[in-house]
Amino acid sequence: MTATASPATRPEPKDLAIALDKVWVTFKTTRERKKPSLARTLQGMRDPAKRSVWVEALRGVTLDIQRGSVYGVIGHNGAGKTTLFRAIAGILPPSHGRITVWGRVTPLLSLGVGFNRDLTGRENILLGGLTFGLSADEVQAHFHEVEAFAGLGQAIDFPMRTYSSGMFSRLAFSVAAHLQPEILLVDEALAAGDAAFKVKSMDKIVELCSRDCTVLIVSHGLEVVKSLADRCVWLEQGRVRMEAPADQVVTEFLTRQRVDRSNVVALEDV
């Protein structure tokens, strides 16, 4: 990961949390589902076309995301939403363009990041905090908030392999949201909890924003995006299709869906 501090070229950097400048994320991937092996590499040397395909996950995305805002990201499966988050978090390097991030990024991508299923919830809170780049003392200072918010009761001392997926996501969200995030990336994390927890976590997101934290949410739940997000981007095949206040984007997205629906029979759920 190349993380070099350099002066920002964009105007008004103090108001920005994230700036993407014509960002391309392209990578080679094997066509087959099989893992790379020696034999397959040797085959690939003879026939390069067989070896791999180029995936253009993001194609020249330019975005400015304001500090202290909730920013929604919508789009179909494979539109590049998760890749966008991984690029912002510094997990996938851009192959072109530049990503500038002001502040520490806390990615809540797939549920429970670095959790070890054989350890108790309590031990995993520390592990989760450390993977987000905090010190052990910082985690300890907020330990009770995390525990209280997750509301797991006695289960906090059970190994996490005994947890349901809902309990898993509750703990994951609590860890991410309470350990002083500066830029929080939430990828469908609200989907797994029950209704009461969903409301609780939405309130928490609003509260985080009032404390200068920037929250990015990926969701297929368009109502969630509409009610939480200030602005929203609609990604389509790795490109920005529309970037505007959230309610406008969601309305346009739904309108296009209806148009498409008349043409295509099999459509994923919105």
Binding site: M1, V113, P245
Partner: protein, 307 residues
């Protein structure tokens, strides 16, 4: 990885209208240094920043190692005793084998062979555990790599910490057995920590080298047990340097572990290790550190894609 297509269309980029909570006053906010992600010309990241990043992640490295150690023998009756018991039983098996092949006449000769076998297995296991653990570290840390950002070298390094935490107790147990078997305690034992330190440096290099190999060639997983087995038999671990077969001795001395075992042998005989062995050990450690780090760092950016 050069893409020259024009940037895609994007709408609404110029309209900057932060509504709602975004329009609060931020006069008191401290200025902060931004992090910039860009494609780099060479594959290497800025080394100084990388090392500082890695240094800041030592609580994570330590915690990952600690939790793994805690979990590794959690469900066995004897628990953590297996850390020592496992290599000890292995040494016992090799001793049984040697006793069948050739019987030594005197008790002191038998004790010498037995003590050599015990430390030989312990020392060899330290390196082979680092290689195996390092090779697996990236593929088994898949979830961490895909979902969070940290210097990836933290993963093989935590395997080193884990292996070292497994090795050091066995070393203490060996020193007790060393006394029980009536082996000499000499001034040379002060060089023991030095040799352990050089071996650890070699192990770090090996782990850094094998970790990316495993990502790009999954066959390594299947081959490694055989490679380490051959390595054990070609190192003077189960036999002494003097017993090195003369026909192959000139070749076997090129084994990176050879100077280590030769030096350990002198140390456990109570003598200071020959300077030649120590220098050779340092050279091997340095070579693998540099090659391992170069391979790891140039490939690091591809891990998230290939894993």
């Amino acid at each position: 990885m050069v893409m020259t297509q024009p940037a895609g269309r994007h709408a609404g980029h110029t309209a900057r209208n932060p509504g709602g909570p975004a329009s609060r006053d931020r006069a008191g906010a401290a200025p902060r240094r931004p992090t910039v992600y860009e494609p780099t010309a060479s594959g290497l990241p800025a080394l100084r920043a990388y090392l500082r990043d890695l240094w800041e992640r030592r609580p994570l490295i330590w915690h990952l190692a600690r939790t793994d150690l805690k979990a590794q023998n959690y469900e066995t009756t004897l628990g953590q005793a297996w850390v020592v018991l496992d290599p000890l039983l292995m040494a016992a098996v090799y001793y049984l084998f040697r006793s069948v092949v050739s019987t030594e006449s005197t008790a002191s000769a038998r004790n010498e062979i037995l003590s050599h076998l015990i430390w030989g297995v312990f020392v060899f296991y330290y390196t082979s555990n680092c290689v195996l653990g390092g090779a697996r570290s990236l593929t088994s840390g898949r979830a961490l790599i895909l979902n969070s950002s940290f210097p990836r070298a933290a993963l093989p390094l935590y395997e080193i910490v884990k292996s070292a935490m497994n090795f050091l107790p066995t070393l203490a147990v060996y020193l007790v057995l060393h006394a029980v078997l009536g082996r000499p305690f000499g001034f040379g034992l002060v060089a023991l920590p030095v040799m352990v330190a050089i071996q650890t440096a070699l192990n770090v290099g090996l782990a850094l080298l094998f970790a990316p190999l495993m990502v790009f060639f999954r066959d390594v997983r299947g081959l490694l047990p055989y490679i380490t087995r051959v390595w054990l038999y070609t190192s003077p671990a189960l036999y002494s340097v003097a017993e090195l077969p003369p026909r192959y001795a000139s070749w076997l001395r090129w084994n990176p572990l050879y100077p280590f075992f030769a030096a350990y042998e002198q140390v456990f005989a109570g003598r200071l290790p020959s300077i030649g062995y120590v220098v050779a050990a340092c050279m091997w450690a340095l070579l693998f550190l540099v090659v391992g780090a170069l391979v790891f760092l140039t490939k690091e950016r591809d891990f998230a894609i290939r894993i």
